[in-house]
């Protein structure tokens, strides 16, 4: 049952980025989704350079990538047969980001998120952004999300 849900999530997940105007504008691509986990990529985009001297992309583009991939991890952690057709957005409450090093100009940034805990209303997520080597991260984030009514776990399990 759960595998079937993840197959459907896999089919819906690209729209989670491409259906979002800012996701499209940045050029974020869906890579993978699993229960409570998600991966996106952000190909190098000169339009979002933050420092013309180094051609490094602006931290804001990384912030958006981490927020978006964390959001999908929350949805995939809370999705059920009942709410999959009516996936409302999740809302970020708090996002902390540590920047370990600048993204390399010209390189695609990969971001992976893990939603490791959900309560009735809140989801907790960690994410990492790197450019090929997870042991050499660009940035790491810790976030909390509000789970909206429609995507929250039903109080009583169906049956």
């Amino acid at each position: 049952m759960s595998d079937n849900i993840m197959e459907r999530m896999w089919a819906l997940a690209p729209a989670f980025v491409e259906g979002v105007p800012q996701g499209r504008a940045l050029g974020i691509k869906f890579v993978a989704v699993d229960r409570g986990r998600a991966t996106f990529s952000l190909p190098y985009n000169p339009a979002v350079i933050g420092d013309p001297a180094t051609r490094v992309i602006h931290g804001g583009a990384i912030t958006t990538l981490l927020d978006q991939v964390s959001g999908l991890a929350v949805v995939s952690a809370t999705v059920t047969e009942e709410n999959i057709k009516n996936m409302a957005g999740v809302a970020t409450l708090d996002l902390s980001i540590d920047y370990m090093r600048p993204a390399k100009p010209g390189e695609t940034v990969i971001a992976t998120a893990h939603c490791y805990k959900t309560t009735h209303h809140i989801a907790f997520v960690r994410a990492i952004a790197h450019d090929g080597d997870e042991d050499d991260p660009i940035a790491m984030s810790q976030a909390t999300f509000m789970i909206s009514q429609t995507s929250a776990k039903p109080k009583k399990a169906g049956s």
Binding site: P21, Q22, A25, P52, H58, G59, T63, D67, S96
Partner: protein, 137 residues
Amino acid sequence: MTRPDIKQILSRIPYASFIGVEHVIIEDELTMILRYKESNIGNPFLPALHGGVIGGFMEMTAIAGLMYSGRYTKIPKPIGLNIGYLRPGKPVDSFAKASIVRQGSRVANVRVETWQDDIDKPIATLMGNYLTANSET
């Protein structure tokens, strides 16, 4: 103190025009403006601005605020920051102000608040530490 030309600084940063950042200076005080753009939407159903764009706007505001102090020639780099989301960002113009909490020799701590039609109802806040050393990266 000589104030740097914020317009010139913004024009050199592609990300600023990508999300639509402008600025206004009233009585020597810098306020940043995020013009509403359809491409800044993160939730098309509400609709609401993308939390990442609001974050990026506040990061831009923190950097502009530090540059406006006139102490730096290089763009400060973020070390660690915390963004709090208080209200959904409506599809209208947003405004933000940075206050520098502490300026050390290498690290500056900056606080940013963003609002839309009511300055007393902020939609998001940012607290960040920035590496400001001019000599090396």
